[in-house]
């Protein structure tokens, strides 16, 4: 599996921003919700900004907010922004080129990887940040009720 949690954190952050509407959030506030260090958040925010998913503002009263509407940001956008590599890796060392299997297995496996990645992308492309915010809503309502 992906050993990194960047995708999960990025989705968390953007959902948070959809939640807070147009008010810019500081990396400090976001880090508190994600339970990590502000620099970790800024690193991810920076990648998201390069992909045009968020806009940041330095200085006091600064912070970061969504660059588009929540229904215009898909999980595929986010995945491409923060996880450069696909889902699987091939061989670390190239196989033996003198073996009929070894010399061609990478090509064949590459095709399989392509199919897998397409399937993943297809799922992620159908889900937007707005969807996640809506899925979150009932949970939050329940939590609110429980508090009373």
């Amino acid at each position: 599996m992906s050993t990194s949690s960047r995708f999960a954190v990025a989705v968390h952050v953007l959902t948070l921003m959809a939640w807070s509407k147009d008010e810019p959030l500081k990396s400090e506030q976001v880090a508190e919700s994600v339970n990590t260090n502000p620099v970790v958040i800024r690193r991810i925010l920076c990648e998201l900004a390069h992909f045009g998913l968020v806009v940041s503002q330095t200085g006091s009263m600064g912070g970061t907010k969504l660059a588009r509407q929540p229904n215009e940001i898909t999980l595929l956008d986010i995945h491409q922004a923060v996880e450069s590599r696909g889902v699987f890796s091939l061989h670390r060392q190239p196989p033996n080129r003198d073996c009929p299997v070894g010399v061609n297995i990478e090509t064949v496996l590459g095709d399989v990887l392509g199919e897998v990645n397409s399937a993943v992308d297809h799922v992620l492309a159908k889900i937007t940040i707005e969807d996640l915010a809506l899925r979150l809503q009932p949970c939050v309502s329940t939590a609110e009720k429980a508090r009373h």
Copy 2:
């Protein structure tokens, strides 16, 4: 992405065994094709054996061969045998439970992960070792021709 190459190596190994029909292969021979150490191969072979995909035999004239026909071994079988975890990870540290987003994001993300993993499994389940061996065939034939 998966930082490990176990899946790629496992597929390579099983394709090699499909290629060599019923003749048992030694970890030494396999390692040569994969271009790695025999112990690395034996480790993976051991996991595959536990899942009933291969059978091994100790002693001289020993080795490992497929436990089923190549068309009865899917990439999903292999993936489940050697990559215990799914495709994505969630947060490393649990998010802040005092935040309405933080307290529920893992549940929502877990659902998404489920959808993604299902899609991956569906692709892998449709491809067998026999398919890969057949896809390999034309490449090998071309290579043979080029040699003359």
